[in-house]
């Protein structure tokens, strides 16, 4: 099928054997996550018969896949750049789940241009190595000169090596001399920094300046495999089934659903882009003040760069979490807290572009961002973890000579010296840095504080030991989705559901459509549940209902296929409400299949695509089941069952009261333990899983063509009861 390179690189670091997998055997899974899960199942569960309940992410038998999609490296808008990383992670607690992460940039496209749809890494090298891919030529190379370098230094060193010392700026020969293959591009390098080398559970994979695969701690997993970096340079081609259709679909998509430089309204401010998904402007999501001298910088093929490169170069390609993890100094959900400050500041006034900068020290923020990227540390952990440390310091628990003894200069919070010292301690596992390298949840466990701090919520890690992103008590699809998945889902498709009405209210502009119409704009694309707009009723009366269970199921299935397998960017898709489109109807439902068909030639209805997502989701649940998941484990941290603080932001959202749709305040509430159990039962019922265990059943698996998965679960005593 067009779009695919046709083969997947399989590298066994233990034996040094390099081989290929035929991509066509996996095309039914779409790409990315679907193929990654299928390979993991096939190689680890079936072929090696590894007992998944007995190994952790650092185990030699763990297989890490780095996968692209058929749309990677093409003109498919919003789906050209991302790369999916999977394997048993080392970050989640108390289970090290089989999990995923992803990153943008140009690594995935370059892998495709080199002729590979992905890489499957098995085993463990005896000593540090890096993988050198130049089109079809692949070599496992000694990394002794790279080990110890930070992620930026390592990339530059690899670039120099691959160019043969000629440097870049002109055409560089690729592969054996005289073969004619040339590129102007630097190799795309995915690497770990010192944190990964030290097997930190908060270590990320970094590519270029600011593309990070952080969640899951795959940097530490690579470190355990003695794998420093993968470099790829490709001079080949990516087949497109219908070039004219792809060009026309791109034109159609951008003209009808994306920003126009002619329509930008400065008074809408940065938030004009945040809740806009596919319509996003080329404006970065930043927590620092942008200087005048910068450009937007985009991932490969993207129409709207969401980060910048700056003069003189601090903060390049960092955004969102990286930009605010240190100086934003906010407890809890960044966005929610930000919104609260906006409400207070803006009143009914329009929100000017630059009033959203939470940071008076942009240089410190940028340097702190660079440091996290260079050391290869996951800022998703740091963003809530640093305020946690600060709280412990303020409580008199942490500091010189205190219970948690450290010499961190918290009296100089906000200055670069503190964050530099802290991150260096983590990356080198010095002092309490050794505890934090395990992640803040495990650090709290070491300090004997975990139970207490998850009850009070000063440790804001509410699901699987991972930091809260959007509050589960408010953002139901996010919270429920995360606790039913294996990581903070980080999928922004439903953010407009809370952002647009809230911002419309506080900006004084009024709501663009009625609450009923607003809910319908979302629900009507959510096949097969498209006749149920009550999925979008986030009222307290509805938050444990079968309607919301359908929302969560749909979101998991949609994301597994379109976001994590076909690799549409999660900041852009799904695109329901779109300011630029007629009737505010976004591109979702029509756009994804059109791009998919133009590139692959495969006609795929939106309903069928959701079914593939359901199939992938079921395979993932089978893996988690073998790892030891049971419905009893699917829980939030204690503080989530307590009242959501009233001082935090209240969202304005569509609610249905007594059959009438209206916009109402959503915020100050808790999740009720008993009713959450009832919700899980409803959810498992919708998935066709055993409500007593949460395990997949034979009938459900068989209906998805996964009968052999049911066989394996049954052999291991883990098949759900009908």
């Amino acid at each position: 099928m067009s779009g695919y390179a046709g083969k997947i690189l399989r590298i066994n670091l233990t034996s040094g054997v390099i081989s290929e997998l035929d991509t066509s055997l996996y095309e039914a899974w779409g790409g990315g996550h679907g193929i990654g899960s299928a390979i993991f199942w096939e190689k680890v569960v079936i072929e090696k018969q590894v007992d998944l309940s007995a190994i952790d992410g650092f185990h030699e038998d763990n297989v890490v896949t780095i996968m692209t999609s058929p749309l990677t490296g093409t003109l498919a808008a919003g789906a050209s750049a991302r790369t999916e990383v999977q394997g048993i992670g080392v970050q989640t607690y108390p289970f090290e789940w089989f999990t995923r992460s992803g990153f943008g940039g140009r690594f995935g496209p370059m892998l495709k241009f080199a002729g590979w749809d992905g890489v499957a890494i098995e085993g463990r090298a005896d000593s540090p190595v890096w993988i050198d891919i130049r089109d079809g030529e692949v070599e496992i190379r000694d990394a002794s000169t790279l080990w110890g370098l930070d992620t930026w230094e390592a990339q530059e060193k690899v670039w120099e090596e691959v160019s043969g010392g000629t440097g870049y700026g002109s055409w560089v020969e690729v592969g054996p001399a005289g073969n004619g293959r040339k590129s102007t591009q630097r190799p795309a390098v995915l690497t770990i920094g010192p944190a990964g080398e030290q097997l930190c559970r908060v270590a990320s994979l970094i590519h270029d300046a600011g593309n990070g695969s952080g969640q899951g701690g795959f940097g530490g997993v690579w470190g355990s495999k003695n794998l420093k970096a993968i470099s790829v340079i490709g001079t080949g081609t990516i087949p497109v089934a219908n070039p004219e259709s792809l060009l026309e679909t791109r034109r159609w998509a951008l003209e009808n659903f994306t920003f126009s430089q002619d329509e930008f309204e400065p008074s809408m401010g940065m938030w004009a882009t945040m809740p806009s998904n596919f319509r996003s402007f080329p404006v970065p999501l930043l927590m620092w003040q942008r200087t005048e001298q910068c450009r937007p910088q985009a991932c490969f093929g993207c129409q709207a760069g969401c980060r910048c490169r700056y003069d003189p170069g601090y903060g390049n390609e960092s955004s969102c979490k990286e930009s605010g993890y240190y100086t934003s100094m906010m407890m809890g959900s960044q966005q929610v807290s930000h919104l609260a400050s906006l409400q207070a500041a803006a009143g009914s006034q329009a929100l000017p572009l630059k009033d959203l900068a939470a940071d008076d020290a942009p240089d410190v923020s940028k340097q702190a961002a660079d440091l996290a990227q260079q050391l290869g540390i996951n800022t998703g952990e740091l963003e809530t973890g640093i305020p946690y440390l600060r709280e412990l310091y303020m409580m008199g628990v942490l500091g010189p000579g205190r219970e948690i003894d450290c010499d961190l200069p918290f009296d100089r919070f906000g200055e670069y010296e503190l964050v530099e010292r802290l991150l260096t301690m983590i990356a080198q596992r010095e002092g309490i840095g050794d505890d934090i390298a395990e992640g803040f949840t495990r650090a709290a466990l070491r300090w004997g504080r975990l139970e207490e701090d998850l009850q009070t919520g000063i440790l804001n890690n509410c699901h699987w030991g991972m930091a809260m992103h959007y509050d589960p008590r408010v953002s139901l699809e996010w919270g429920y989705g995360t606790v039913l998945d294996a990581r903070d889902i980080n999928e922004h498709g439903f953010c407009p559901l809370y952002m647009i009405p809230t911002l419309s209210q506080y900006s004084g502009k009024g709501q663009p459509v009625t609450a009923e119409e607003f809910a319908k704009i979302f629900s009507e694309r959510m096949v097969p549940y498209h006749d149920d707009p009550l999925m979008l009723d986030f009222s307290s009366a509805n938050m444990y209902s079968e309607h919301v269970a359908k929302l969560v199921a749909w979101h998991r299935h949609y994301s597994r296929f379109w976001i994590q397998s076909v690799l549409f960017c999660d900041l852009q898709f799904p695109d329901f409400f779109n300011w630029a489109a007629p009737g505010y109807r976004g591109i979702t439902g029509e756009g994804e299949p059109r791009f998919f068909e133009a590139v692959t030639g495969r006609e795929l209805s939106f309903a069928d695509s959701i079914e593939i997502g359901r199939k992938i989701w079921n395979l993932d649940n089978a893996i988690w089941t073998l790892q030891g998941r049971h419905r009893d484990e699917v829980q939030f941290a204690d503080y989530i069952y307590e009242l959501h603080p009233a001082e935090w932001a209240i969202f304005t959202m569509p609610v249905n009261e007594n059959g009438e749709w209206t916009y109402g305040p959503i915020g100050e509430r808790s999740i009720d333990r008993t009713q959450f159990e009832e919700f899980k039962t409803r959810y498992y019922g919708i998935e066709g899983w055993d409500p007593d265990t949460g395990w997949p059943t034979r009938s459900t698996l068989a209906s998805l063509g996964l009968g052999t998965v049911a066989d394996e679960l049954e052999n291991k005593g883990k098949l759900g009861q009908e």
Partner: protein
């Protein structure tokens, strides 16, 4: 490859750079052997179209490269794209990005280097400087002759011929008219509007004629430098 062998017998005099030698010898040979292409003593006609770029407006997405290869080749390729974006993610703005588009030079060194009439002035398409792959013998002299880095005349190592920007005059995989009188894929698909088309010949000396300010008030309102 007989012609190529014949070319290799031409020796470069000592003290003359290779590029200068090829330029001079190429023009001389062409004047003799392809007198029908260029009239000796007269400059070749100016192209009727040029690509202007704004390197400060480019977001480095490389959409132009994807569009270029797709409309010309029917597949995606970076190495065969006739416009190249070269970037260094660690450098500061604006030195982090270079856009390498063909300048349709008034006095094209690539054309001068071609002794086989492959790289020619296409009078039916606004005098663009383009390659006839049927005539290309694969000597790659045009590739080496381009004085800009990276070179704008590129080597198609799959089909074994040179190729370069034709302002989309010959796009087998794109509807509609291209060339100087039509649309260009890189201009059309650049989401930043960082590439523009003009019929007016830019100043040939240096980059200022080609690398221009395409930013406007909207760009400034997005928080980016407009000047």
């Amino acid at each position: 490859m007989g012609n190529l062998k014949e070319r290799e017998t031409i020796k470069r005099p000592p003290g003359i750079s290779r590029r200068d030698f090829l330029k001079v010898s190429g023009i001389a040979v062409m004047s003799v052997r392809f007198a029908g292409c260029i009239i000796p003593g007269r400059s070749i006609p100016a192209a009727e179209g040029y690509l202007l770029i704004d390197t400060r407006k480019c977001q480095g997405c490389m959409t132009c490269m994807l569009a270029c290869s797709l409309v010309h080749e029917g597949f995606e390729s970076l190495s065969l794209a006739r416009i190249q974006i070269v970037q260094d993610p660690f450098k500061g703005f604006p030195d982090d990005i270079n856009i390498a588009q063909c300048r349709q030079c008034e006095e094209p060194a690539c054309l001068a280097a071609c002794r086989f009439g492959a790289l020619h002035v296409d009078s039916t398409n606004g005098n663009i400087r383009t390659v006839d792959p049927e005539k290309c013998v694969g000597c790659q002299e045009c590739v080496k002759a381009c004085p800009f880095a990276p070179g704008r005349s590129i080597w198609d190592f799959q089909e074994n011929h040179a190729q370069k920007c034709d302002l989309c005059a010959a796009t087998s995989f794109w509807d509609g008219q291209g060339g100087p009188g039509g649309n260009q894929a890189c201009v059309t698909f650049c989401p930043m509007k960082a590439i523009a088309f003009t019929t007016e010949m830019p100043v040939q000396e240096g980059d200022e004629g080609y690398n221009v300010n395409l930013r406007d008030g909207i760009w400034q309102s997005l928080g980016y430098p407009a000047d």
